[in-house]
């Protein structure tokens, strides 16, 4: 059983300990929590920027897809020009024709496919066998050049016209 004096002494020790401030471990723990908190804030800022940039990039990716859909040979820089491949099919050819274009444009990796069959021929001169106009199905997939994820896909139908006689 504790005496009154012992109790007072114990309380005095407790008061003294409080006046001594934080312990070393408590200080380290506080610093650790502070570091985690600041890291979380910085991480949120970075994540927000990433989301905003990703949204903008997806929008530009769609514009890039529309560009390549109407033009399989857009203007290129010398670096991307060397990596761009495109094999066109003959305008007058019979049977199912296909062409593929691949390469980098606007920071994305592009895969463009085009198909045109006999049924898509709008006007063919039976004498010369020239095709004056034919339609074609075009599909463009735009990939993020770093992660490889699909940023945009676009499909359309073109009507191709002979350049001249």
């Amino acid at each position: 059983m504790r005496t009154v004096a012992e109790g007072m002494g114990s309380d005095r020790d407790h008061v003294t300990a409080i006046r001594g401030g934080f312990t070393f471990i408590e200080t380290l723990a506080c610093l650790l929590v502070l570091v985690f908190g600041l890291s979380a804030v910085l991480g949120l800022v970075m994540w927000g920027e990433h989301l905003a940039g990703d949204a903008q990039a997806r929008s530009t990716a769609m514009l890039t897809a529309v560009t390549v859909a109407v033009d399989p040979t857009p203007l290129q820089t010398p670096v991307t020009q060397s990596a761009w491949t495109y094999t066109p099919y003959p305008m007058d050819a019979s049977g199912t024709q296909a062409s593929t274009a691949t390469g980098f444009l606007n920071g994305y990796y592009i895969v463009r496919t085009e198909n045109s069959a006999d049924i898509d021929v709008v006007a063919r001169d039976p004498g010369t066998n020239y095709v004056y106009a034919r339609s074609a199905n075009v599909r463009v997939d735009v990939y993020d050049s770093m992660s490889g994820t699909v940023q945009a896909s676009y499909s359309t139908r073109l009507v191709r016209q002979r350049t001249g006689p």
Binding site: T16, F24, Q56
Partner: protein
């Protein structure tokens, strides 16, 4: 109890303080480094977002203008060769002008105008100047007017001095293939010639200027820090016209008449009846596609991005 009371006020030991200070210094260094690294990444991300946002605006604007540039729209393409340095002394530039509603180089004739065949609509101009790395854009005024501050008596005894006037763009220009700036300014309302009777009356009305000058007056920066920019126009006959700062050229693409002389119907035998006539016709020289490429650089982060877009004109696509 006394030893305990004496020890407590002494606080941390020297070792504890030194360890704490060392940890604080390490954390401060790591925090500062991380902060500046994050700041740099955020700046780069924001610069990239701004580049993509401006690209979307440019794409939307040019796409809209190309879509409405049908056969009635004449175009002027001009290139001025520069030294390729991109410095302030670089004189390189190019210009693209859409002249909607200008279907022929003959539309200045009063007889044709009276038949209601020709009406000039809104014109649009794009210009890139290498010296200040800026892409400019202008849309013509829908109307202009002013006050004639000097005496002007064109005929009879009526003096138009001190009177206000207002006029709409009228088809009174011939589109020269070699001097579009000169001929496209022909539609000033009052003469600018000096004579004993009418001394430079246009100077008495500063708002009386031609349509080309009107476009130049309204040029505003659409995008800055454009370190490289070029165009390629693909005509319906397959000809490619490069518009950039490597050569000095002027090309005029006349608007095409839609009166049956050059049919756009591919099933019409007349369309390919005469290869020479077709190749020389306004229709064959109509643009089928406009390719546009530019490089923009962020001054703060030195981040650079090249964008390339192609815009279909009101025409069918060419051969594969």
């Amino acid at each position: 109890m006394k030893p305990s009371l004496a020890a407590s006020p002494s606080g941390f030991t020297l070792v504890e303080v030194m360890v704490s200070m060392t940890l604080c210094v390490i954390l401060a260094m790591a925090g500062t480094t991380a902060y500046f690294k994050v700041l740099r990444l955020v700046n780069r991300a924001e610069a990239r977002i701004a580049m993509h946002a401006s690209a979307q605006v440019l794409y939307g604007t040019l796409h809209r203008q190309c879509c409405v540039a049908d056969q009635h729209c004449a175009m002027v393409l001009e290139s001025v060769a520069g030294d390729g340095t991109g410095s302030s002394s670089d004189a390189g530039s190019w210009t693209l002008i859409f002249m909607h509603g200008k279907e022929s180089n003959e539309d200045w004739q009063w007889g044709l105008q009276s038949q209601g065949m020709n009406e000039d609509l809104v014109w649009e101009k794009w210009k890139w100047t290498a010296g200040n790395q800026t892409l400019w854009n202008a849309t013509s005024s829908t109307q202009r007017g002013g006050n004639m501050s000097v005496s002007f008596i064109p005929s009879g005894t009526v003096d138009f001095g001190n009177s206000n006037f207002l006029y709409l763009p009228t088809p009174r220009r011939s589109l020269s293939a070699t001097m579009p700036e000169y001929t496209l300014n022909d539609n000033i309302l009052f003469p600018a010639t000096t004579s004993a009777t009418y001394p430079m009356v246009s100077l008495g009305c500063p708002n009386d200027y031609g349509d080309m000058q009107d476009l130049d007056n309204r040029l505003a920066a659409a995008l800055t820090h454009v370190t490289a920019c070029s165009l390629e126009v693909v005509e319906m006959n397959g000809t490619k016209l490069d518009v950039n700062d490597t050569a000095t050229t002027t090309t005029v693409l006349q608007g095409a008449w839609m009166d049956g002389r050059y049919s756009a119907n591919v099933t019409d035998p007349q369309y390919f009846a005469n290869a020479v006539n077709f190749a020389k016709s306004d229709l064959a020289q109509r643009p089928r596609l406009i390719r546009f490429q530019y490089t923009v650089t962020d001054a703060a982060t030195q981040l650079s991005q090249t964008f390339s877009f192609s815009f279909p004109m009101p025409a069918m696509s060419g051969p594969p």
